[in-house]
């Protein structure tokens, strides 16, 4: 659990604004996955990155293995974006184990 430090733990945004979530890694990671927990508690895959950046709608993610971090940017936040977001990463030496961040609870307000 100590391999991934996720921040902030909680974030409040007004509709239409944006911000970034960040995960720092204490060791070199092979890849990172960003999830969102839905209302039923399931983890929904948002992005998988082995390097570089990916964008999907109002979400954009980046992963830098060498600098040991990943970010998830949200722009033009909507009410339905509210939820808990997690990053999870796999170490270079073992891709069958995921190390999770502690989550960011995002609240989007009108």
């Amino acid at each position: 659990g100590d391999q991934v430090e996720q921040s902030p733990s909680a974030l409040s945004l007004h509709e239409g604004t944006g911000s970034a979530l960040r995960c720092n890694f204490t060791t070199t990671m092979r890849a990172v996955q960003w999830f969102r927990k839905n209302s039923r508690g399931s983890l929904i895959n948002l992005f998988y990155l082995a390097s570089g950046t990916k964008e999907n709608g109002r979400l954009k993610s980046a992963f830098d293995s060498k600098e040991r971090y990943s970010t998830l940017h949200i722009r033009d936040a909507q009410l339905e974006d509210s939820g808990t977001y997690f990053c999870a990463a796999e170490v270079v030496s073992n891709y069958n184990v995921l190390y999770f961040g502690s989550g960011t609870k995002l609240t989007v307000e009108p």
Partner: protein, 114 residues
């Protein structure tokens, strides 16, 4: 899309009793996992399973824990006997190729040991 179903969603059990958590993975997936999340803490890896065998387990996977998937049925996590510190949400996941990119997680089973 394809889903991982976990049964039951909630379970309360007396300390010392046995409990079995059931996971119905995505039908064509070959790799199976259990993760544990204690309230307020990060999800942590317990065990992974492939081809009928445990491939890797963490220090959280105590001797009282066991996993199996008999004849392609449910992938189960059994705890015998349970202890108070086993109270947590247990998440099952499956994947086709054992890579992070194709993981599918269930909604978790919330276990309370009293």
């Amino acid at each position: 899309g394809p889903k991982v179903l976990q049964i039951p969603s909630h379970q309360i059990i007396d300390m010392g009793q046995m409990v079995t958590l059931n996971c119905d993975p995505v039908s064509n997936h070959l790799y199976f996992y259990w993760y544990k999340q204690i309230l307020g803490q990060q999800m942590e890896f317990l065990v992974n399973f492939y081809n009928g065998k445990v491939m890797e387990k963490s220090k959280l996977f105590k001797d009282q824990f066991s996993v199996e998937r008999p004849d392609g049925s449910y992938f189960t996590l059994k705890i015998q006997p349970t202890a108070l510190e086993d109270s947590a949400v247990y998440f099952c996941a499956s994947s086709l190729e054992g890579r992070i990119s194709d993981y599918t997680f269930g909604s978790g089973t919330r276990l309370l040991v009293i």
